[in-house]
Symmetry: C2
């Protein structure tokens, strides 16, 4: 029914603490699947699955180097996620402003 767009896949990929941890680790430099698996104490199969979700969301790119697969960040920049979150924040603030004005009018405040 619903077509999943890049922003959907990105939000879904970021909804897991291990996947966010993998991205944070890759921020310090590229790593193999086994280097990623170790600090999180998860299996290679589990790590590969998380990396696949991140790769589908274009948050991670991988390349075969010899017998290993090296993972690095990118190419996605999260601009659309940032814009959506900023829009939501503005929306909340406007709602609070309107609520504040309503309270002021109800109180009939005079300086």
């Amino acid at each position: 029914m619903v077509q999943h767009s890049p922003i959907d896949r990105t939000f879904a990929a970021l909804a897991d603490p291990t996947r966010r941890g993998i991205l944070e680790r890759l921020g310090t430099g590229s790593a193999t699947i086994s280097e990623l698996a170790e600090p999180f104490g998860i299996t290679l199969t589990g790590t590969k699955k998380h990396v696949q979700v991140l790769e589908d969301a274009e948050l991670v790119s991988t390349a075969k180097v010899g017998r290993e697969r090296r993972c690095s960040l990118g190419p996605r920049r999260l601009d659309d996620v940032e814009q959506w979150v900023a829009m939501y924040r503005r929306m909340l603030e406007e709602r609070l402003d309107r609520f504040g004005e309503l309270i002021e009018r109800t109180k009939g405040v005079h300086p």
Copy 2:
């Protein structure tokens, strides 16, 4: 295994275009389940499920008014999501800076 924290639930809740649409609609004011269902062309049951996911993530609060359930935004502010995305952007930029420096050194550029 993995405990789902508020930020996990929030990212997961935002990973669906209908749920983001519901939040955008609630930004203009509160609405009943049927008012929310109509513009998206989804069933009441489907709408209730989406609202439940948003409520679990504290992005929506609901209150029974007479025979209807009114939905409104809040109380969650997305501060943690915003911080995580900003951290990710800084990380990407630092990585690009390091990459740029490496290229400059490799080229042995002299002004």
